[in-house]
């Protein structure tokens, strides 16, 4: 079952492209689509602080930029800190009457590496300090820009260049770090998961996260044809399978209250999601069963949270 929105809703979405074509993302890049859609939701009055990573590299080869909104890249691990600084600066300037008061969304954007590994300190600090900003994690489940190395967001069993399968390994031997839960543990007003395969759900969440007063965190699964090893035309389908199998449930946490934003009903077998991707091709059935068990358990745990 596809998303609940009607077929004519795409026509209502703004035609403004704040993320200009001409960027160097791979064909079929789920992350580029996520950024494009997020920007449509955020609109013109947005400032983005972006970490080093795929999106930063494909969008800013000096002297060209794909950004039609103000944008800054500083380093790898500090998107949240730079966004905090922009927020603090604007706040001070508006309060002191040096800038006209108006709502400008401050957004920190980083990949999974720049969020759950090297960027986690800056993120945690920014969330704790309560800055009025939105943090978007674009999760393609590895350090894709540097050549598909594993991160703490790489799922169990996935092949990457630093977690290759071999005689003594199934590939990634640890389970994916749950960044959305870590963000929620900071007791912030809004946390959500999203996927560009569900574009209206994504855009609605980005808008909600930006508009909330205080920190908001959105974790966007970004299917990567290059790193996950599937043909580029399947990006949307792969993202949909991630949601329909329960591997990546779509939910939001509003002031601590959990809610599924899409109920996929009976979960499809995880195998359907894994088999489409080259990075899982080496897994035997026993390991797939392990993954299935874990997905089921995690999904049930999430469902219990939505009911409490």
């Amino acid at each position: 079952m596809r998303e609940r929105f009607g077929v004519y809703v795409p026509k209502v979405v703004t035609r403004e492209e704040y993320f200009a074509p001409g960027h160097r993302a791979c064909q079929g890049c789920g992350e580029a689509l996520a950024v494009r859609l997020a920007q449509k939701a955020l609109g013109r009055d947005t400032i983005v602080a972006c970490a080093t990573g795929c999106m930063e590299i494909v969008s800013s080869p000096f002297p060209y930029t794909s950004w039609r909104i103000p944008w800054i890249h500083v380093a790898f691990e500090n998107a949240a800190a730079v966004a905090s600084g922009i927020e603090a600066g604007l706040k001070a300037l508006m309060r002191k009457g040096r800038l006209p008061s108006k709502r400008i969304f401050c957004v920190g954007m980083a990949g999974d590496g720049g969020t759950s590994d090297i960027g986690i300190q800056a993120l945690s600090g920014a969330l704790e300090r309560g800055h009025d900003f939105l943090y978007i994690c674009l999760d393609n489940e590895a350090y894709m820009n540097t050549g598909i190395q594993r991160s703490s967001a790489t799922p169990f069993g996935a092949a990457t260049t630093t977690s290759p399968p071999g005689k003594f390994s199934w590939g990634q031997m640890t389970w994916k770090k749950n960044m959305a839960e870590i963000a929620a543990a900071h007791d912030i007003p809004y946390v959500a998961t999203a996927c560009p395969s569900y574009p209206f759900d994504l855009m609605e969440k980005v808008r909600k996260g930006a508009e909330v007063h205080g920190p908001a965190y959105i974790h966007i699964l970004s299917p990567c044809p290059t790193g996950w090893r599937f043909p580029p035309n399947l990006s949307i389908r792969v993202g949909r399978l991630a949601v329909e199998t329960g591997v990546f449930p779509l939910y939001e946490v509003v002031n601590g209250k959990y809610r599924l934003t899409l109920d996929p009903g009976e979960l499809r077998p995880v195998k359907e999601y894994l088999k489409v991707q080259g990075r899982f091709r080496h897994l035997p059935d026993e390991v797939i069963e392990q993954i299935q068990e874990r997905v089921r358990r995690e999904y049930e745990r999430l469902l219990r949270k939505t009911r409490s």
Partner: protein, 99 residues
Amino acid sequence: MGEGLLGWKEIKPGCVITEAGNASEYRTGDWRSDRPIWDKSKCVKCGICYIFCPEAAIEEDEEGYFYANLYYCKGCGICATECWTGAITMVEEGKAEDG
């Protein structure tokens, strides 16, 4: 990346880029090996292809049908795969007719 290289005096302080979105000068359409073709008899003008294009390369014509801006289209095929009615087909460059 060799065209019109800047001299040091032409670089703005901090290497700031003031021409927002000037990456749109770059023809990513050269990457393509397949291009999407719309069958207007099947197109219901829903716009989902426009939504799903990572390049923002799909545009709407005066009649409300959609088409690919070939300057940018990288030929990923997402639009053809996602089209509800199967109105889009990927055709190899060189074999494609205009459309």
